[in-house]
């Protein structure tokens, strides 16, 4: 019996045939794999190489230190201080994050709200990310935490940098503040720093104006990261540029004195050097604590700020606009002098009827005989009605604009209001009605359509004092470069006209009967000259004129007139110009004049313009003196 199966032959043939078929299939699959490799590695290789590199390398930005803001004597107004903080790394918190936070809360104050935020951020981030627990710790708290660190797994001490404003609210409007970049900031500016969490950009004030210079250039660290974003090693490092320091013309002491003198009132004050236009103080009260915005303002704080009727977020010195009232009269007087009205005499009876409208003087019984000097001294409305009627709006507008009113002064700060000086063409275009004589009369005493800002009135004071077209300047040097300071051009008024107006302003303060005589500077050699003004905020009806205009003291605060006063000193050789605005402050005791008096006296006694500065002022002087004055 054959043990070898004959049928095996057919099996073997079938097996071999089918083995060949399968081998062909296997070869086909191998070719398919090779083809796919060719496609991925040869045809698309460079594209995948780029993707692999993108995967691998991550760029980390290193924040440059922000430039400081420094006053003329080297006092730091805005600086960076160490921010002691503690962070937690979730993956290292072996006892659990909540347990560790509870331990931390035993050592330093940790509100439930903060705890919730930490837990939320941990949930949103990678397990190895550093999530801040508390920032801006005091050294004591920081040291205490460090001592307990061995018992707080996952907690790490960290020292960062944060913006600090040593004078807080006193400089808030001047300096502005820094805060996280808004979405709009990020759209307008493609600096990659803006999208970094924790980075701050300047908002308002000097912080905003010179944000680009103070920001500096980010350093970059190219690091290799793994799929989870953990840094494996640093590949290269590019150092950034620190932000540039900004030196102001400001005198910190004078600024603080001005702020203190304005107190809690809703007020603004500017002090300028009448030789150079340097702004020595620029105060607006009330202010706000700029540190609030830096660390992140709470709803409660924000609500406090916006609901305050004293408008703490408004820089009234630049952004507030007010009818100038009687402070407009010196400008009119100057125009009158140069337009053949130097000998104008008017008899004031308390009112005058022009056309079919009766215009009232603030003094019901009238001033009697008034000339230009007395018109300024007693601020006679009827006199300036006549001046306005004779000048006409065109010449009034030219004079006002030449003196810097109704247009931004160009001070290096954001948010400056334009103010407004009306013209015939403007009214026709705006209302479709031709200019009326009554409009001219109202404009003559700084009412009607005329609107100015306190900084414009301070500029007016400096221009009246110096006779030159001074421009207010607040920065002297940015990043070691002196700021351009154009030489002031002469003003289109005669010296005689200036002399007459200054004489009138002197009489306001220093001769009995002047509107500011009671609050003059009595110290010899420090006397000031200036002009008071009142801006109505309500309409006074015909009936009220007949029965007697209500006294401000009897009105609610927000219906009282605004009080304005500008002055320069010393009278003999003016060096300081000062402007004070007191919202709803037109009281018999003239608190605003008293403020200006005190501030001007303080400025003269301290005399900051003659003290050695922290930066080379000489070069700027030389430029100023190049004109030969």
């Amino acid at each position: 019996m054959p043990l070898f199966d004959r049928k095996d032959k057919s099996r073997y043939a079938s097996f071999t045939r089918r083995t060949l078929m399968l081998s062909g299939g296997m070869g086909g699959v191998m070719l398919l794999l090779a083809g796919r490799l060719y496609q991925l590695q040869i045809l698309n290789g460079s594209q995948y190489m780029t993707q692999a590199e993108d995967n691998r390398v991550s760029q980390r930005l290193i924040f440059p230190p922000r430039g400081r803001i420094i006053d003329r004597f080297g006092v730091e107004l805005a600086t960076n201080r160490r921010n002691y903080r503690v962070v937690i790394v979730a993956e290292q918190a072996s006892q659990g994050v909540e347990a560790v936070l509870d331990e931390v809360a035993k050592i330093i104050q940790l509100e439930p709200r903060q705890k919730e935020r930490v837990l939320r951020e941990i949930a949103q981030n990678k397990k190895f990310a550093q999530v801040p627990i508390v920032e801006n710790l005091s050294w004591d708290e920081f040291a205490r935490l460090n001592l307990h660190l061995p018992y707080l797994p996952g907690v790490q001490p960290d020292v960062g940098e944060t913006r600090a404003y040593p004078y807080g609210a006193e400089m808030s409007h001047l300096l502005g503040y820094v805060a996280a970049a808004s979405r709009q900031d990020q759209q307008n500016d493609n600096d990659p720093l803006l999208s970094q969490p924790g980075f701050r950009v300047g908002k308002r004030g000097i912080e905003k104006e010179y944000d680009a210079q103070m920001r500096g250039v980010a350093g970059a660290s190219r690091v290799e990261v793994n799929a989870y974003g953990r840094v494996i090693r640093e590949l290269s490092n590019k150092t950034g540029l620190p932000g540039q320091d900004v030196y102001l013309t400001l005198d910190c002491q004078l600024q603080r004195y001005a702020e203190e003198r304005l107190g809690d009132e809703s007020a603004a004050c500017i002090v300028m050097d009448t030789a150079t236009g340097d702004v020595l103080a620029l105060a607006s009260t009330p202010g706000y604590d700029p540190n609030w915005f830096n660390v992140g303002i709470t709803n409660e704080q924000w609500h406090t700020l916006i609901s305050d009727d004293h408008k703490p977020l408004l820089n009234k010195a630049l952004s507030g606009s007010y009818p100038p009232g009687s402070t407009f009269k010196p400008a009119m007087a100057l125009a009158a002098m140069d337009n053949g009205l130097e000998d104008l005499q008017v008899f004031c009876t308390g009112s005058v009827t022009i056309g079919n409208h009766t215009f009232h003087c603030y003094k019901k019984d009238g001033h009697g005989h008034v000339d230009l000097r007395r018109g300024i001294q007693v601020s006679c409305d009827v006199f300036f009605y006549e001046v306005a009627r004779r000048l006409g709006i065109d010449r009034m507008e030219t004079a006002a604009r030449a003196l810097g009113l109704g247009a931004p002064t160009g001070i290096e700060m954001p948010g400056e209001n334009d103010g407004f000086i009306p013209s015939q063409a403007w009214k026709l275009a705006k209302y479709g009605v031709p200019w009326q004589l009554g409009d001219t009369i109202s404009a003559g005493i700084g009412q009607g359509y005329v609107v100015v800002t306190p900084i414009q009135l301070c500029t007016l004071a400096a221009r009246l004092a110096s006779g030159k077209a001074l421009v207010p300047r607040i920065t002297h040097m940015v990043g070691g470069r002196l700021q351009p300071r154009p030489l002031p051009s002469p003003l289109p008024f005669s010296e005689k006209a200036f002399a007459a107006v200054r004489d009138g302003l002197n009489a306001v303060c220093n001769e009995p009967g002047g509107t500011a005589y009671a609050w003059r500077i009595t110290q010899p050699g420090f006397e000031m000259a200036g002009k008071t003004g009142t801006a109505q905020v309500r309409r006074i009806s015909k009936e009220e004129h007949l029965t007697g205009v209500r006294k401000n003291a009897s009105l609610p605060w927000n219906l009282r007139d605004h009080a304005l006063f500008f002055a320069f000193a010393p009278v003999a050789e003016p060096r300081y110009a000062c402007m004070v605005l007191l919202e709803h402050g037109a009281m018999v005791a003239h608190p605003h004049v008293q403020m200006a008096r005190d501030i001007l006296l303080f400025a003269q006694q301290r005399d900051p313009v003659r003290m050695p500065t922290a930066y080379p002022l000489q070069s700027a002087r030389a430029e100023t003196q190049g004109e030969g004055t």
């Binding site: 054959p2 070898f4 097996f15 590695q41 040869i42 799929a227």
Partner: protein, 384 residues
């Protein structure tokens, strides 16, 4: 012509004869491929023998000795223990269902004393052995008879089903492919093959609805559109393609691959090890590796066609095809041509059970080669 049916079978080979008969060329190729694996384990660990490369070398050495020993054992012995081995593996698979522990969402591991065993790996070899043993006894005509066909189908279906509920889609597919390929080689009629293929195609929607797990469906869906979920389930596919593609023509160089080392790839030391190789050695390296694989497979096919016993032929082809299916599925997967299924690259991926199973398989292949002259009667039980 004098028929000497027992001539070859009776011829006793000494140990030296057998050592001489071993296909040392193939052993060398296997060792070279394994060395590529060691280099990759070393590389994905960031240039370190720990935690994978050293263990892998150790396992390979054990596997190597085992392969030589297996090669020297007469194939009739293997034929004898084919069924017991199959049942032991089946029991182990059943035990996994009862007492196994899960890894990566699937219950695949069984702890036996100090060893963590993945019974699905030896099952592939045992299935090939058992099927070869069974089909050895059938003529071409008998293979296609429904009552006879039922047994091998059950032999394939039971372990495949057990593996499928672990769930381990990759191994299920491989078991199915191995079994079907052996039936095909044994001469299954085309009248069975073509209708079955058509039915299988029709069954795909049903499988989708009732059989596949959610994670498996997700893999298929993201495979069809990886960009739809580039950071989620599509991550594997996208990152694997980036790794392979970024190797370019010549590769980034040994230890210079970034994709796998920086953990952009999951399973970098196991299923996706080829991506690291492709990244570091580029197109040139990959083609060289494919050629190495192809030559090993060629040796396997040659061994099968030279064997004088149907058992030997089927066993050799079964082992070879098993090896090939690993390469095919893993290669297609990491290059983004098929959805992600958990199949390692043989000899290169990290993994103890898989390494030992593959080496055992090669041992059997070599044994067929050594004992290629042995004739075994169709109705023999295989006892020497």
């Amino acid at each position: 012509m004098t028929l000497r049916p027992y001539a070859a079978a009776r011829r006793t080979l000494s140990i030296v004869d057998k050592l001489y008969e071993i296909n040392w060329g193939m052993v060398l190729l296997i060792t070279i491929i394994a060395c590529v694996g060691f280099a990759m384990q070393y590389s994905v660990a960031g240039g370190s023998w720990e935690p994978w490369a050293a263990k892998q070398v150790f396992r390979f050495l054990i596997g190597f000795v085992m392969m030589i020993v297996v090669a020297m054992v007469d194939i009739r012995v293997w034929m004898n223990i084919a069924y017991p081995a199959y049942f032991v593996c089946l029991l182990l698979l059943g035990a996994v269902e009862v007492a196994g522990h899960a890894g990566l969402g699937a219950q695949r591991w069984l702890t036996l004393g100090p060893i963590d065993l993945q019974p699905s790996e030896p099952m592939k070899i045992a299935l090939v052995l058992a099927l070869a043993r069974f089909l050895h006894g059938l003529s071409v005509e008998e293979v296609s008879k429904p009552l006879r066909l039922f047994i091998p189908l059950a032999m394939i279906g039971i372990p495949a089903g057990l593996v499928a509920i672990q769930p381990n889609l990759g191994t299920t597919i491989i078991l199915g492919l191995d079994g079907c390929a052996l039936l095909f080689l044994a001469g299954l009629s085309w009248w069975w093959i073509l209708p079955t293929l058509s039915a299988a195609a029709a069954a795909v929607p049903l499988a989708w609805r009732f059989v596949l797990h959610d994670y498996q469906k997700a893999r298929v869906l993201t495979f069809l559109n990886p960009e739809s979920d580039a950071l989620g389930a599509g991550w594997n596919i996208t990152q694997a393609k980036i790794a392979v593609g970024s190797g370019g023509a010549a590769g980034k160089g040994f230890l210079e691959g970034t994709q796998s080392r920086l953990n952009f790839l999951p399973e970098k030391q196991t299923d996706f090890i080829l991506t690291n190789f492709a990244e570091e050695f580029g197109f040139v390296g990959c083609i060289a590796l494919l050629i190495l694989f192809a030559v090993v497979i060629g040796y396997g096919v040659q061994t099968a066609t030279q064997a004088r016993s149907q058992f030997g032929r089927l066993l050799a082809m079964g082992i070879t095809l098993n090896f090939f299916f690993y390469i095919m599925i893993n290669g297609l997967m990491v290059m983004g041509l098929i959805p992600v299924v958990g199949i390692p690259m043989p000899l290169i991926s990290y993994g103890g059970t898989a390494m030992l199973a593959v080496m055992f398989g090669f041992g059997l292949l070599l044994s067929v080669h050594v004992h290629r002259q042995v004739e075994i009667p169709r109705h023999s039980s295989g006892i020497i």
